[in-house]
Symmetry: C2
Subunit: 361 residues, 2 copies
């Protein structure tokens, strides 16, 4: 890879496209002749507002956001949304449904119990979150204020392949680790939120795409910074937004356009994941962690069955320039996070490395 | 100024030292041979943790934080803290005291009323926040869980010159717009918080310096991302922190060291503010907005008495490269925000410009 950069398989924060970083570096001290860095611009200035509007417009176009929905930039990542979602939505009936398919959906569910009555619609913890429940396995409540699930489970390497049918109950989806990797029918969702640090920008923000009709029913105890209504009314600027992180998202959106948008990325990510799953499926050494039908195209999890060999693999991979490939302690083994910015050649070289490791061990 | 940069008098986000921006640009695509941008680093990686620890250590040394206090990096700026402070602290007695000396302390006060009984200890709104109440004017409650004030009022250009005596009631202070401009006796405060976007880093974070003994009493409805206890226990990493914003703070701290720390900055800021207040005090045209004894060394507010002349001043100043100098609509007139990163020559040139404008109008 050019510029002596490593292949960074981190689950997040994670790689950004090199061209995006180079663009950011080139205009860091002086943005396009303005005499200022974007980091220094007043968020109320005409110049920054023009940047902001272009980014919102690009996001709306690329993610195909219908006019019924608003795009919000909020600080605090997904964890902030774990609180904001129930505070804003649960007041309708006092109840909500959660599917637990991994660590973060479990944390989101626990957070919601502070604010209402929570029904666990499914919990894949019985097999350490190696599968995704089917539609028929979801125990949904007709009077839930919303149904919450996490579209891609970073730690275990599983991904929902369908959008649940909830019979009118608004769907809230945490897409932190697979947003912008494929086209999404936004109209099916009440709220989509995503921490930006995996597929969109440096850490420090979440993007929230919300059906505007859901806002305005927050519990009276909702901190104002968590109110979707205020964020919508003030266009994400009731307080100072994370201006530079938004700008970085903007550069990534331009790069996404060059890749063919979400349709283009879907082809690329399917090919990248396929390369690694082919290695796993034809291996006598490596064992995939997730069930085949639930496999994530963003996080490929695997192990050797031996803690010593796992450690040896991680050590030798790191030395070879494949960094942050150790699995999360909850899943063990290894994890190759191959988000949008991971180049094809990074995946191909890792596949070569895995085959060579298998030959030698 | 080098690099064709403008003098940016924005109230925040605001200027960063050019050397800091140049350093950031130089290591943006590849941090010191690591093959990664800081934007891409896993917050759990050894490399990022070593950066993080050095920054905390530099902050502790430069801001003279005693061992009784912890340093937290939290997303959401001061507005987030407006909710977090009462949620974490008001449970002790159910009551808190607030001094209202400007727009943001008013918003902080209003937010706190969601969570307990609020006593307004003082309100300078009777004279449009042009003064700071004296100690004897503060109506403090002996059973308040805490006393909250805002050390510098960005919009009106006033600054507290003393630390209130509260007879044991913990003091919570919003130092968003004057932190790191002078030495602070941190031991006098229960909590100091500051949005970073004025004197410390790009927008997207607040630094919280908290007496650890105050944590652990949050209301049960506190979103986990707002819990000081969790933030302390997890060293600001219960969720992914804004890694790059923290890194930028680190570069600013190194620059602060070069300026002689907070003692050095105090001399510089006193001199800078003095230059502009001397212009105002010797002017037949410009009228200072804040009372003399309450003047802020960070935000110099003034007007001409004529809306037309104010507009003309702003227009001509902007054309001359002094940008964002229009006053906030709540105070009117002009405002020159001269935070730490505003160079002395920017202030000197503005003073020259003001004198020339006076001569010609």
């Amino acid at each position: 890879m050019s510029n002596d950069r490593v292949y960074n398989f981190s689950a997040g924060p994670s790689m950004l496209p090199l061209s995006v970083l180079e663009k950011a570096a080139s205009e860091l001290t002086n943005y396009r002749g303005s005499g200022q860095s974007v980091m220094e611009m007043s968020h109320r200035s005409k110049l920054y507002l023009s940047i902001f509007e272009e980014i919102k417009s690009d996001f709306k176009r690329i993610f195909k956001v219908p006019d019924t929905h608003e795009i919000l930039f909020m600080q605090g990542g997904a964890t902030f949304q774990f609180g904001a979602v129930p505070l804003n939505l649960i007041g309708k009936t006092g109840k909500a449904d959660y599917a637990i398919t991994g660590n973060f959906s479990k944390i989101a569910c626990k957070e919601a119990t502070k604010y209402g009555e929570i029904n666990v619609a499914a919990d894949s913890g019985d097999r350490n979150h190696t599968y995704i429940p089917s539609q028929s396995e979801l125990k949904l409540s007709p009077d839930a204020s919303y149904f919450h699930y996490c579209a891609n489970n970073t730690i275990y390497g599983t991904e929902w392949k369908y959008v649940p049918e909830t019979n009118g109950v608004p769907i809230v989806c945490d897409m932190s680790s697979n947003i912008m990797s494929k086209p999404v029918d936004v109209s099916k969702y009440g709220i989509i939120y995503a921490g930006v640090q995996k597929n969109m920008a440096p850490a420090g923000m979440a993007v929230v795409v919300i059906d505007k009709s859901l806002a305005g029913n927050e519990l009276p105890i909702t901190p104002k910074i968590m109110s979707y209504k205020i964020a919508i009314d003030k266009d994400s600027m009731d307080n100072t937004p994370p201006c530079y992180t938004i700008y970085m998202l903007g550069l990534v959106l331009k790069w996404l356009d060059e890749q063919g948008g979400t349709e283009g990325m879907a082809k690329i990510k399917t090919k990248k994941a396929g390369i690694l799953y082919d290695v796993l499926d034809s291996s006598r050494l490596f064992i995939p962690i997730a069930d085949k039908e639930a496999r994530s195209d963003m996080n490929v999890t695997f192990r050797t069955g031996s803690d010593e060999l796992d450690a040896k693999f991680v050590k030798e991979a790191t030395e070879a320039g494949f960094v942050n490939i150790k699995g999360h302690r909850l899943a063990g083994g290894m994890r190759a996070s191959i988000y949008n910015a991971m180049p094809m050649e990074g995946v191909e070289k890792l596949a070569d490395f895995m085959r060579a490791f298998e030959k030698n061990n």
